[in-house]
Symmetry: C2
Subunit: 299 residues, 2 copies
Amino acid sequence: MTTATGWVPEPVERPDPRLSINHATIKRADLATALRVTADAGVQSIGLWREPVNEVGLATASRMLTDSGLRFSTHCRGGFFTLPEGPERVAALDDNRRAIEETATLAAAGAAGSTAVLVLVAGGLPEGSRDLIGARERVRDAIGALADDAKAAGVTLAIEPLHPMYASDRAVVSTLGQALDIAADFDPAVVGAAVDTFHIWWDPQVLEQIARAGREGRIATYQVCDWKTPLAEDVLLSRHYMDEGMIDFGSLTRAVIETGYDRDIEVELFNADIWADDPARVVARTAQAFAAAVTPHLP
Amino acid sequence: MTTATGWVPEPVERPDPRLSINHATIKRADLATALRVTADAGVQSIGLWREPVNEVGLATASRMLTDSGLRFSTHCRGGFFTLPEGPERVAALDDNRRAIEETATLAAAGAAGSTAVLVLVAGGLPEGSRDLIGARERVRDAIGALADDAKAAGVTLAIEPLHPMYASDRAVVSTLGQALDIAADFDPAVVGAAVDTFHIWWDPQVLEQIARAGREGRIATYQVCDWKTPLAEDVLLSRHYMDEGMIDFGSLTRAVIETGYDRDIEVELFNADIWADDPARVVARTAQAFAAAVTPHLP
């Protein structure tokens, strides 16, 4: 395999067929490059982000995705639902409606087995607010406002609980149990949860909440990456390859698989060192780590 | 009020009678200075740390505490219970037994209303381990090994759930509910929990778990400090004065008070800027923030 930079990675074993590369893992690659290096590595699936899709336009992005032969696993991301009533909140909801449409279009353009899942990040506390309970209520209200649009488009909204260290500035939804409590008001085909190891591995209730998510039909996407300390200076960028940190991928993956989860499994790495690396090398390294940490726990 | 450095703080209102200054808030002050600036500010209570106490020796520290006229609210800290069987674990347990004795001695030396509470930090994952569940079992076992010593000494072991961002390197006990589940095997006079706003404010179950902790007689100490993002580069040092961040001290404090909690309320600030400041000024500023954020919610 040769890359844009001419660098040739070590040959790796054939990537796990369920591995999906989230575009954020190779964030500096444009959409064309991301699709190419992912497919060239023998990976079968990709998760996309709105900004690079909209950079080329949705129609073009869809054609590129179709041409890549890749499955589409998730679209990232909607949400930011904690704003109080007002024009900014209205604009945020409208933007989420566009994201729903993009998700449906891309899922139709991806190879067979693609899933129409829009990942939602709840949003943090509004500037100057300490009202966490109120912010959480606004998340529930916003999902209620979008559920009919999602249903009409055949899209599942995946509420992603983020690690509690992001509770004030990014997501007032911090546990899988809390995401499931919000989702409970809605049809599981319309509102589910994103199960990301990085965000929930520490939760003493994680295994029982994964089982519950399965029973309730809510696992819209399972995502894996590792946790390691010390955290990066920007704690958003502390995500690591699955063989470099402290998370027990065995117990978590088995719990997800036991629910009957049969979709792709995404790897989304926010990490400045990984972003600085060659995207083809990153994809190969991701496939390697996935094979070591996750594949042994798949059926 | 004049201080060692000659700096004269702005006059502040009389500190809340329930405020206790944890020595870590003025970490660079030696024990004598910490006791003096706390008492000089009109604060009535202090929480101590093992290292400065042992620097002067327990007998001397006890006399100094008695002479200060201050109440003693907690001793920090025991724990680090996640080591596997072996000489290091035996040594850690022995060290905890010494901490129990120190706690009893200091509580007896403090003014009337002092409480014999030893704060326990569970410990993180041992080097190279991903076995979070096993580490948690070892915490439970260690508390079982120390409970009789604590009971004999009249000391309450306060399990402190730490924020989940410390789960891998400092404390595998991450929620109040989890601390209460561990404590449930023991007499509430012997094993309780430390309720620290910084660590648990984000928890969607926090109010019900505080109520449960009260029903079960487990709130050994209530501690307040604020959360603000972006986090400090060393995330251990991200604790702030109570009027500077995002925590709603009203709902949390009222929930604690409604359980009948009538002990001192500690402020423990790990923060490089605060540590670099004059200790008398820090105590005055802490009293001010406490009066603004906490006092209005006390009976």
